[in-house]
């Protein structure tokens, strides 16, 4: 019995010592190069190289400099240019570029805190699925960081330091989150982008930004068809897109005054109810009936019109509705005809509500070409400013 006990003890000691020999995954936070944002451009192919223009990518990683950001007692933290360091590497794909990048750094890079991936427009136009795969397989990578498309080089965006940015990448993310919260930008983080890319009934969009001097600015939404970017919407079109597809209020609307056509009334949307139903028309095309109920408040009025008059008020509401409807229709037919990309997710609607019809469809995009839209917009203005203008 004692031998058995000794043997058991020995076994346990062996196992424990085997376990404690290594701390395989132990790597302190200060021994990782923490990347905040990543920019992806096409590399300029050197003359005489064998690669074509779109083959080599230049990956710019924004690495935080923690020494500047914490630990020093009493000193104000470094900002903007001083707190981050942009390092670029060139490679055939992301993993090669990151390997190149690692060779330039003292510690291995760490993707757990990436807040934004910025693709330049020309990269996006060639297709970005091949680049996304690396991030999707990386277990550290945040699934909720944002994909952005930069109008010019992504590197330039990363090199732009707004005055209030402590860490530039976090500034970018905060910008997007604020806009999303207000309902001015669609909430499409990395994972949502990928899902829309994979789903047959919907195409992804991405936020477009552009940088000048030391400012960064939204410039609209990038329209994708599959993995390729095919066009863009400006900010106002983006709002319409949000109203139609995301069911969020999406910015504001400016209409002419009912009495005095020279003045304007600005209506800020505070809520939206939307009801979207697919139907099959007689000629076997899809018709989407969209009911939109807006709720808004007038935030500014440039004329002394007294809207306590019910008739005038109703007409104002009508004007807003008409304006919104017009904008939505313009956007829809533009996307449909020009890009043939179902960013609105109408295919998903068909799959959800008419599964039998959906099974019959081979190529949704072809069907989408002939899809019609029937929009009804109602607006309710809840409040009309604090005071009327002095007459």
């Amino acid at each position: 019995m004692n031998y058995i006990k000794c043997f058991k003890l020995l076994l346990i000691i062996c196992l424990i010592s085997f376990i404690t020999t290594g701390c395989w995954d132990l790597k302190d936070i200060d021994q990782r190069s923490i990347i905040i944002a990543i920019g992806i451009d096409f590399a300029e192919t050197p003359e005489g190289s064998n690669y074509e223009h779109s083959e080599l990518i230049k990956l710019t990683a924004q690495i935080a400099i923690p020494q500047k950001l914490g630990g020093g007692a009493g000193q104000p933290p470094a900002m903007g240019e001083e707190s981050v360091w942009n390092v670029s590497a060139v490679g055939l794909n992301i993993s090669m570029a990151i390997m190149q990048l690692n060779e330039k750094l003292q510690y291995e890079i760490f993707l757990g805190h990436v807040r934004a991936i910025i693709f330049s427009e020309d990269v996006a136009k060639e297709g970005i699925l091949r680049y996304l795969n690396y991030f999707r397989n990386n277990p550290d990578f945040r699934r909720l960081s944002y994909i952005m498309i930069s109008e010019d080089k992504a590197e330039d965006v990363l090199n732009t330091y707004p005055k209030t940015a402590i860490i530039q990448g976090v500034y970018l993310m905060n910008m997007v989150e604020t806009a999303v919260k207000k309902g001015n930008m669609p909430d499409i983080p990395f994972i949502e982008f990928v899902i829309r890319l994979v789903d047959k009934g919907i195409d992804p969009v991405a936020i477009m930004i552009n940088s000048f001097e030391n400012k960064i600015k939204f410039s609209g939404l990038a329209v994708f068809k599959g993995e390729r970017m095919v066009g863009k919407m400006n900010i106002e079109e983006g709002w319409s897109f949000i109203q139609l597809a995301e069911k969020k209020q999406g910015g504001f609307e400016v209409v002419r005054d009912v009495k005095d056509e020279l003045g304007r009334v600005t209506i800020f949307f505070s809520g939206i109810q939307s009801n979207l139903r697919p139907m099959l028309t007689e000629d076997d095309n899809f018709l989407f009936k969209v009911d939109l109920d807006f709720e808004g408040r007038a935030i500014s009025q440039e004329t002394p019109t007294d809207y306590s008059n019910q008739i005038l008020f109703n007409e104002l509401e009508q004007r807003v509705s008409n304006e919104v409807k017009r904008e939505l229709e313009v956007l829809f037919y533009k996307i449909q005809k020009k890009y043939n990309s179902d960013i609105f997710g109408f295919g998903e609607m068909v799959r959800a509500y008419m599964p039998k019809e959906w099974d019959k469809i081979d190529n949704w995009r072809e069907k989408f070409r002939t899809t019609k839209l029937d929009i009804t917009v109602r607006t309710k203005i809840r409040r009309i400013g604090m005071t009327n203008l002095i007459q």
Binding site: I4, K8, L11, I12, L15, I16, F18, I19, G22, W24, D25, P139, R142, R143, L144, P189, I191, V194, I195, V198, D199, K200, G345, E348, M349, R351, A352, Y353, P355, K356, W358, D359
Partner: protein, 366 residues
């Protein structure tokens, strides 16, 4: 030979629930949606219903022999050798299942959190704790399960609460999957295999304090995993959609990864949830291994079940390391759960029929 430790009914329900919530639902959303599409949640219901039926048969059989486990009444219903070999089959199945549960989880851990750690080490570490656990008697097993039920359920509920805002309701539609009833049934039988583990009650029924309440509490015990499974499947479909789910090896883990957790010290909760999942896996494989070893000791007529732990431990490790790649793991899991399903569906029914026809009954409890 008799297990003297008594289980309260609540502990009994806790053991059922904890054994069921384990490795199965790490991959469940993917496997079910591959067959049933958006109707996967109905498949879970069907699977839950099937397991409920078989569980009730097992209890009915068990209550005919209120003082005996399957290993013991098996020999009374048939003869000594058949009873023992059936018991042996059950125990071996539990042993392999237990080691595979650990393996599946360790694989996930290695592929998602601890990339550089050898999988052997993770398995050994888990096994050591499991061994410490199953060295105790049934009373302690029951109490631990009772306590951990809360530690498993509350984080799951919390996670569900957080991720519910990420659900896109359109992706859940059509609710029935839109492909007719057959895929639902196929997937339902598939999900039945992930409910396996409830059959360990064949070893526990004689130890329950108030056997009258067995039906009541076993249903309660089954209900919570059913709800958990269903919610996880619904959430996974609602967040990822059917098509993206097919690309995810560990859909439940990805589910946690996309759950935002705003405004607290911890921003991403996946590691925290994995930690609680460790508890779930621990109870699953611990309970399975415990009944397996208890069963072996009853078949071999060994007084203390503890004596068998060390001889069988290398076997558990061997089975956990047997499949080479993660796909092999899933294949083996498939095979072993089919074997288990066969055992669970056939043996209790046969035993019950035999015992009714020949009117065999165990001694009443004194």
């Amino acid at each position: 030979m008799k297990e003297h430790g008594k289980l309260t009914e609540r502990q009994f329900a806790g053991i059922i629930a904890n054994t069921l919530i384990g490795a199965g639902n790490l991959v469940l959303p993917r496997t079910l949606t591959a067959i049933a599409g958006t109707g996967a949640w109905i498949a879970v219901l069907i699977g839950g219903f099937l397991s409920l039926v078989f569980m009730l048969i097992i209890i009915r059989l068990g209550l005919r022999f209120p003082e005996e486990t399957l290993m013991e009444y098996g020999t009374h219903i048939t003869n000594k050798w058949i009873g023992k070999s059936v018991g042996f089959l059950f125990c071996s199945y539990w042993l392999v299942l237990s080691s595979l549960v650990i393996r599946v989880f360790s694989s996930m851990l290695v592929s998602s959190v601890m990339i550089n750690t050898p999988i052997e080490v993770i398995i050994i570490a888990m096994l050591l704790v499991v061994v410490y656990f199953i060295r105790h008697d049934l009373q302690v097993i029951g109490r631990v399960n009772e306590l951990y039920f809360i530690f498993i359920i509350i984080p799951i509920l919390f996670g569900i609460f957080l991720s519910i805002s990420e659900v896109n309701p359109i992706r859940l539609l059509p609710l029935t999957g839109g492909q007719g009833f057959l895929p639902l049934l196929t997937a339902g039988i598939g999900s039945f295999f992930s409910f396996l583990g409830f059959e360990i009650i064949v070893m526990l029924i004689p130890s329950i304090t108030t056997q009258k309440l067995t039906y009541n509490y076993s249903i309660k015990g089954l209900l919570s995993p059913l709800v958990v499974y269903m919610t996880i499947v619904l959430l996974a479909v609602g967040i990822f959609g059917v098509e993206e789910l097919q690309n995810l090896t560990w859909p439940t883990l990805e589910l946690i990864k996309v759950t935002p957790f705003p405004g607290l010290i911890l921003e991403r909760l996946e590691v925290v949830f994995i930690s609680f999942w460790v508890v779930a896996i621990f109870t699953t494989s611990g309970n399975l291994l415990y009944v397996s070893i208890l069963g072996f000791s009853q078949v071999l007529q060994i007084e203390e079940h503890k004596t068998l732990i060390f001889p069988l431990l290398p076997l558990v490790f061997f089975f956990a390391m047997l499949p080479g790649s993660i796909y092999k793991v899933f294949d083996m899991m498939d095979i072993i759960s089919k074997v288990g399903g066969l055992l669970v569906c056939s043996i209790p029914v046969l035993y019950y029929l035999i015992s009714v026809i020949w009117d065999k009954k165990g001694d009443e409890r004194s």
